[in-house]
Amino acid sequence: MLLDALLLQVLNGLDKGGAYALIALGLTLVFGTLGVVNFAHGALFMLGAFCAVTLEKILTISTKVKDESITFFEAFKEVPILEAKFPVVGGFIVDYSVPFAILFAIPIMLAIGLIMERGLIRHFYKRPHADQILVTFGLAIIIQEIIKHYFGANPIPQSAPDIVSGSANIGAVFGLGDNIVYPYWRLIYLGFSLSVIGGVFAFLQFTTFGMVVRAGMQDREMVGLLGIDIQRRFTIVFGLASVVAGLAGVMYTPILPPDYHMGMDFLVLSFVVVVVGGMGSLGGAVLAGFMLGILQSFASMNEIKSIIPGIDQIIIYLVAVIVLLVRPRGLMGRKGIMED
């Protein structure tokens, strides 16, 4: 029984950690390249989620038809045009709106990232971190309020495709009984986050572009002296981080119905992840993301909470405090960072 419970909490931690890692990866990438502490990064995660919402709204544009079942007053029900005109194809497209939203979100998030960097962030490269935090935090609030204005304050549920809306009996597959079941979409999310993380690492590791970026992260001045326009590449990296955060948001919508505030909820945790992993360390962000996700899940177990009530709410911050005290540069941070 306890083994089942532990396994389930590991899975919970991995899928939550996947989201933390994806957001933290972008955060630390931007910090490592541009030296900017971007508090608007959570807003990019939220904007990605709203790309999925927007696409679903476009696909389900409806006509209003009188609702005959209501006699008290004139009520209307909405009939989606696409599904009404093309029941099979239309129904399929609407059912798969979240996966389709990935394609929809990539160019949008890239454009948003580039505009954000060129239009605002670049003016703050040489300013103190406090200025960067203030301006990006302000930007995050503005983005939030814009989304709230157009989409309202309430969460907007998004469905996973019908075929993956159930749960997998993992226990039965591995001969561990029927108590280890896990939703398909959460497993897909875990696989997706691992793929994106792998893709980003491969891009930085095995392409010339990535090599230059890594060199720039080590010594920006030297790369510039070699005649390489490192600034342009860093701008593209900002766009890439924006896409990664956006995709994390798109895929998270069937797990957590998006609302305007979701970015801020994740941002704080993701910053803790970056600090624990080490500012500017890509591997550290991923490691800390999964580690803290799993720790948070374990801390939510009744057995643990009965010993230390409320530990599920503070565990992440507790770890951050310990890491900052014992190893200020984080688990995999470069020597000197946050240590002076």
């Binding site: 389930l8 007053f73 009520a75 159930g166 119905p257 909820d265």
Partner: protein, 453 residues
């Protein structure tokens, strides 16, 4: 020669003057009840308008309810001012409302966003009382907020007409003389649900509670546990979850190994939508435990939540204060009026807020003054009908309304996007009634009313 003493005032003159003075001083009391001009906070005096404060969550976990509450308040103001079709003003009995505002003063309102947070709600209510000069604050959707604002109104000296607040505490340990609740409470939900659950699921069940970690969640958990244990069920585990947790997976997975065959979700609003959706994603309703189908119960239901949760709500039992499909004249008048205004039926949150506004206005009319203590006296023990819940009484001892309670179930085959809940039983008032000093409501003191002066 004796000197005759003369005076401008004879004994007879003094007596006449005294009688006249007494008559003049007494005249207002004779002609107009309570018109002796006692001062009180935000007295509208000779103004042609009076301002009410609608303090609702426009953001945060209960924003859905807040938006609907605000719609209802606006409709109530319209009706009080003699505009529109009058809604429930036509069915309310007894009624002193005339459709010319309140005491002839046009009703105006200010709104505030509680953000579903106690501190923000108190700041907003304070602003309404101090800056906007409201005579009454109303609103709800979170019991934590309701208790905080009720206490502020008590201290400030204005009336608080609670909107949607379901915790026992609101009219239990945190009750205040200036506060009144029309909405039902967690104890009533438990009392109404118990017999229905016994009929539907038998007497041998093992329940697992997931509970929102604030006063409403705690009192609902306590009430439902008492109710289910009284029908023979056992309680496997009670787990507190943070409000607005979003992802409840780490709280749901332990249920799989707990041996429980029933999940009771003491969540509301966005939290309930998320936890129910995720519980179903984890396949709980497809499970069997010791030969019994796993069941989920949501003790406090609302149609707005049902809309957010979609198909997941089907077949799930809960209780509600009111439902738009009720066929009594009051409910129909309100649904018609609200539907014509906004194009969809009102929620239970909208209903209770609309009713509270009318009840306040009626109490002021009967008292003949906005003076808070007179309004309190006018509401205490007031019996009324025609507002959608059948005969109802504002009990003087705790300012809680007593009326029938609805047990509902998520409809399997809804006929429209609003037709999501079916009424399983109308539990009579006698079955949900309790003494003022019941242990779940003990510890508080109503105190005395405060008029702010």
């Amino acid at each position: 020669m004796s000197k005759k003493t003369t005076s401008a005032w004879s004994r007879r003159d003094v007596l006449k003057a005294s009688a006249a003075s007494t008559a003049i001083a007494g005249a207002p009391l004779f002609f107009t009840r309570h018109a002796y001009g006692a001062e009180y906070l935000n007295n509208p005096g000779s103004n042609s308008t009076v301002t009410l404060g609608f303090n609702v969550p426009q953001s945060g976990a209960y924003a859905d309810e807040g938006a609907d509450e605000l719609r209802a308040y606006k409709l109530a103001v319209k009706h009080l001012n003699g505009e529109g079709d009058g809604g429930m003003m036509n069915t309310m009995q007894p009624s002193s409302l005339k459709g010319n505002g309140i005491l002839g003063k046009k009703v105006e309102y200010v709104t505030g966003d509680t953000q579903t947070k106690s501190d923000a709600a108190r700041a907003s209510a304070k602003r309404m009382i101090e800056k906007d000069g409201v005579v009454m604050v109303t609103g709800g959707s979170s019991s934590g907020v309701a208790v905080a604002v009720q206490s502020l109104c008590q201290d400030a000296g204005v009336i608080f007409m609670a909107g949607l607040t379901h915790a026992n505490d609101t009219t239990g340990k945190d009750k205040k003389a200036n506060g009144f609740r029309h909405f039902f409470n967690a104890f009533m939900s438990g009392a109404a649900l118990g017999p229905v659950l016994k009929n539907a699921y038998g007497t041998e069940r093992n329940a697992y509670h997931l509970t929102a970690d604030y006063n409403w969640g705690w009192t609902q958990e306590q009430s439902i546990q008492a109710s289910t244990e009284s029908i023979g069920w056992s309680t496997a585990q009670k787990v507190l979850t943070p409000v607005g947790a979003g992802d409840f997976s780490q709280y749901i997975t332990p249920i799989l190994n707990s041996g429980a065959d029933t999940l009771i979700l003491n969540h509301y609003g966005k939290d309930m939508i998320n936890s129910l959706t995720q519980a179903i994603q984890f396949g709980l309703r497809d499970r069997q435990v010791d030969g019994k189908d796993f069941q989920i119960i949501v003790p406090l239901f609302s149609r707005l939540m049902a809309q957010g949760a979609g198909d997941n709500i089907k077949g799930i039992f809960g209780s509600t204060n009111w439902h738009w499909s009720l066929s009594d004249a009051g409910s129909q008048a309100f649904v018609k009026s609200f539907g014509q205004e906004y194009g969809f039926p009102p929620s239970q949150a909208a209903h209770t807020c609309y009713v509270q506004t009318l009840l306040y206005a009626d109490a002021v009319e009967r008292a003949g003054t906005f003076e808070p203590c007179e309004v309190v006296a006018s509401l205490e023990g007031h019996k009324f009908d025609g507002l959608g819940n059948g005969p109802t009484e504002y009990r003087a001892g705790d300012h809680q309304c007593f009326k029938d309670v609805l047990v509902v179930k998520g409809k399997e085959n809804p006929s429209s996007q609003f037709d999501l809940l079916e009424i399983v039983e109308v539990t009579p008032r006698a079955q949900v009634e309790y003494p003022v000093d019941h242990e779940m409501f003990a510890g508080g003191d109503l105190g005395t009313c405060n008029n702010g002066v």
